[in-house]
Amino acid sequence: MALSFQLKAQNELERMGRSNIPLPSGPETSCPNCHRTLKIRTLEENAHTCTCGHHFRMPARRRIAFLTDSDSFFELFAEVEANDPLAFPTYPDKLRKARSTGERESVITGYAKIHGQECCLFVMEPGFMMGSLGSGTGEKITRLFELATEKRLPVVGVTVSGGARMQEGLVSLMQMAKISGAVARHGKAGLLYLVLLSDPTTGGVTASFAMEGDIILAEPGATVGFAGARVIEQTTKEPLPVGFQTAESMLEHGFVDAIVERKRMKKTIGALLKLHKRI
């Protein structure tokens, strides 16, 4: 379907202060793409998308409600949470603030049905330290893959992450290897791993499980990359190309299977799960 507005490249949005726009909390917000004022309720009714086609970041619980069949989601490993392996200053405060969202970690894991298809599901939470990969996050995702391997179920994952969690140092880095090991075993068992990249998916998450899916979908306009755009700009001292590190650019360079609009997401994922069902 043709979009009524041309979507701006994500790095242009970033320059306009896109990253400073909080997750919707008041009664209204404005679209960073077309500058319309949007009622939060309208936004929620439209799966957090604007009529111009801009996809807002979506809290994990809303994403789950939107993506799964009603009452089919059964949360698992909710008791797993971050600890502070390095005794890093200010980390306890950061965690406390992140937990005021009601979540204990930056990912929600569980069992679900999507268009009648069974799967194990993980969805990262942008409101929890921008989905950063901590040891609790890694543990939940690893357990989910291990369970899915045992139960012979596909895994569907939605990534939103600024990357590894600095405050957990090397322990965070090791999560990348730990999850990759579980993904490898799940894959060797002949099972499907479908990943949906949403805005933003960067750093250590891109350099591990976000890029390890058999099928990799992305939402329109999502920032997807490894190194931070600003860091690259400072290093190379050259302006970044328009559309750099967007889902569209990743598609063009062959790192994404398809870009799927949110309103078609559930149907698309359901259809892909069905296609991989063994008869």
Binding site: M176, G181, S208, F255
Partner: protein
């Protein structure tokens, strides 16, 4: 010694680089080039050699010796092609049942538009998945800087060792300082928080062994390291639960 002093030592261009380890520990090194996809990355050197009388696959991140070589090798920051070359060599090691030894010395994977467009993240991710499942013994040795995912992409191993003054970190002290204090000059303070020294990594069970630098760069040093590698490869070679053990090693974090 403060953590940041270690960082400075680890970054020193007086230290032996990857190629010195290859040439002094192994014999008959034959360098193999290219990722068979796009190009050949000078930041990573790989090939075949003998350790005693046994063929091994060796892979090293190379920072370069003089300014010209350093620039060509981008100071040891690999492009995706470098990681894909390493991947290709590791898959061949598996095919021909050769152990793999890697030497790591990088401030991080190269940060640039072309590296991103050729899938830096995907290249690292593929190495992690492949190395977790590699059926041959793998030893990784951090000889200088161990910069985040760019280092981990060659450090998913049965044994990970670190030189006494090597550092291993999820982010550079400068990067950490700029996030934490919005002030890059506080890198010294940030380094202390990151627990990036070999001693810290040992305590966190990130590495199994610290290699003394008392005689760094001398033939005695390389001989000692060679004996350690030979002995450990023998142990790993006889270990029937090697793959389970490697999974458990990383599963524990």
């Amino acid at each position: 010694m403060e953590a940041y002093d270690r960082v400075r030592i680890a970054r020193s261009n007086m230290r032996p680089t990857g190629i010195d380890y290859i040439m002094n520990i192994f014999s008959s090194f034959m360098e193999l080039h290219g990722d068979r996809r796009y190009g050949d990355d000078g930041a990573i050197i790989g090939g075949l050699a003998y350790l005693d009388k046994n063929p091994v696959t060796v892979i090293a991140i190379e920072k370069g010796k003089d300014i010209k070589e350093r620039t060509e090798r981008r100071f040891g920051s690999p492009h995706p092609e470098g990681y894909r070359k390493a991947l290709r060599l590791m898959q061949q090691a598996e095919k021909f049942f050769r152990p793999v030894v890697t030497f790591i010395d990088t401030s991080g994977a190269y940060c640039g538009v072309d590296a991103e467009e050729r899938g830096q993240g995907q290249a690292i991710a593929e190495n992690l998945v492949t190395m977790m499942e590699l059926s041959v013994p793998v030893i990784a040795i951090l000889i200088g800087e161990g910069g985040s995912g760019g280092a981990l992409a060659l450090a998913v191993a049965d044994r990970v060792w670190m030189l006494e003054n090597a550092v291993y970190s999820v982010i550079s002290p400068e990067g950490c300082a700029s996030i934490l204090f919005k002030d890059i000059s506080k890198a010294r303070e940030a380094a202390g928080y990151l627990k990036l020294s070999a001693q810290d990594a040992l305590q966190l069970h990130i590495v199994e062994r610290i290699i003394s630098e008392d005689d760094l760069g001398t033939s005695a040093f390389f001989d000692r390291l060679k004996r350690m590698i030979s002995q450990e490869l023998r142990i790993l070679n006889d270990c029937e639960t090697r793959n389970e053990d490697r999974y458990a090693r990383f599963r524990a974090f």
